[in-house]
């Protein structure tokens, strides 16, 4: 039995029409490959991740964590990669690339998403929206959002250029590079859709990523949970 420990945040009643994704993007690769798993919610508001039992499995007090028997693994991209490698014979698709060179290009775009998009732009941007709408109940601070939005625009300009040459980030088929960013794109569509809809190739790519059956399944599973 594989267990994935992921965050639990109590439901926010003011915006029941919004659908949010609880778990960091990479984790959902397992949905495409592994049937027998259990999602365990970790109550971050109650500080469950700071308790000794949790710190024993992830001393950085972060989620998600994969637990399989007495094997524990943290860092979402490491977990996703491990699952993709372990189950690559079982699914119909290869999410990591077939040849050595393809694998390298997939990893290049996974890293680009991490450093050029997530860390420097998306993560603080979405956190400002979350704090504004759910925690502090105020408008977003434009002085915080504007520079982050500018970075997102730059990133999407480059992705637009890339996708004018290949169907997906790493080449002609869907890989973990696309998988990792899809839930973040969903959040962007919720708050500032023009970032995606103003770019022809990014928009088409977004539509493909979010119409995959496993993406839809993930939204159903998360329906009602605020984002993290």
């Amino acid at each position: 039995m594989i267990r994935i420990l992921e965050p639990y945040i109590p439901l926010c009643p003011e915006h029941p029409e919004q659908v949010y994704l609880v778990c960091p993007p990479a984790l959902r690769t397992w949905a495409e490959q592994v049937e027998d798993f259990e999602l365990v919610k970790v109550d971050l508001a109650a500080g469950e991740q700071l308790k000794p039992e949790f710190l024993a499995i992830n001393p950085f007090a972060e989620i998600p964590v994969l637990e399989w028997g007495d094997f524990h693994l943290y860092e979402s991209r490491a977990i996703a990669r491990y699952i993709a490698e372990k189950f690559k014979e079982q699914g119909p698709e290869n999410f990591l690339g077939k040849t050595l060179e393809e694998r390298a290009v997939v990893y290049q775009w996974i890293e680009s998403e991490s450093h050029q998009f997530n860390d420097s732009a998306f993560s603080p941007w979405v956190m400002e929206y979350y704090l504004a709408y759910y925690e502090e109940k105020r408008p977003v601070r434009e002085e915080v959002i504007a520079p982050l939005r500018a970075r997102l625009e730059k990133f999407f300009d480059r992705v637009e250029a890339r996708l004018s040459k290949s169907k997906f980030l790493a080449g002609e088929y869907y890989t973990m590079a696309d998988m990792n960013i899809a839930p973040s794109l969903w959040h962007i569509m919720n708050f500032e859709p023009e970032l995606i809809t103003s770019r022809k190739h990014v928009k088409a790519w977004y539509e493909i990523l979010t119409s995959r059956p496993t993406f839809k399944k993930m939204l159903e599973a998360d329906a009602g949970w605020p984002l993290l």
């Binding site: 943290y74 860092e75 991209r77 890293e111």
Partner: protein, 213 residues
């Protein structure tokens, strides 16, 4: 044609690749990219690396960017030669990946913020912001406490074998400890310090650093 690295001795991300090539005993050519003169922002460079950063790897038809993608590619391509860097079993490989991510997400960010203030800004004639240094050092020290605990259990980060995870720490930590003179936080933690002494005495590191200006 062989392996070509477009990079800079001033960039810890470029150095990571060069140190690894020494570990793997792979010949390479370094084509210096002059960051100070903005060579990484020219149209020719942006064609190879649209985000305008070093390093970039060229290996025949393949052009690759992002230092951790490059180091992984090289470790996989040259697996079986030089130092094994990836781990053997699937679990070992996963733990190596986990600690590569820890370096990327938890260690590198405060470290680079500190290095920017105490090494790079002075070299550009700018003033160090001590408040930022203090705040980032506090974050880094929390991470170092976890490393200290991990390194009491194993000689290296992913287990009892040197791996890509340890290697990735070399250039940034050198900047912090040796150039930035912030080594006290290592000296205070005996297992962390022993690990640093060990990995920084590797010939691959010494040979690469001997080439830097």
């Amino acid at each position: 044609m062989g392996i070509v690295v477009l990079g800079s001795y001033l960039s810890p991300y470029s150095l990571r690749v060069l140190i690894e090539l020494e570990e793997l005993v792979v010949d390479y050519e370094l084509k210096p990219v002059n960051i100070k003169q903005g060579e990484h922002r020219t149209p020719e460079f942006l064609k190879m690396q649209p985000f305008g950063q070093v390093p970039v790897l060229q290996d025949d038809d393949l052009t690759l960017f992002e230092s951790r993608a490059i180091t992984r590619y090289l470790a996989e391509k040259f697996d079986g030669q030089g130092t094994p860097l990836l781990g053997k079993s699937m679990k070992e490989k996963a733990l190596v990946n986990q600690w590569v991510e820890v370096e990327s997400q938890n260690y590198d960010r405060p470290l680079i913020a500190i290095v920017e203030q105490v090494v790079w800004k002075p070299s550009w004639g700018k003033t160090t912001n001590e408040e930022i240094v203090a705040a980032e050092m506090a974050k880094l020290e929390k991470v170092l406490d976890v490393y200290e605990a991990q390194l009491t259990k194993h000689k290296y980060l992913a287990g009892d074998f040197f791996s890509l995870a340890d290697l990735g720490h070399l250039p940034g930590t050198h900047l912090l400890v040796n150039i930035g003179k912030k080594g006290a936080v290592f000296a205070d933690r005996p297992h962390l310090n022993a690990w640093w002494e060990d990995i920084s005495s590797r010939p691959s590191f010494k040979k690469t650093m001997a080439k830097t200006p």
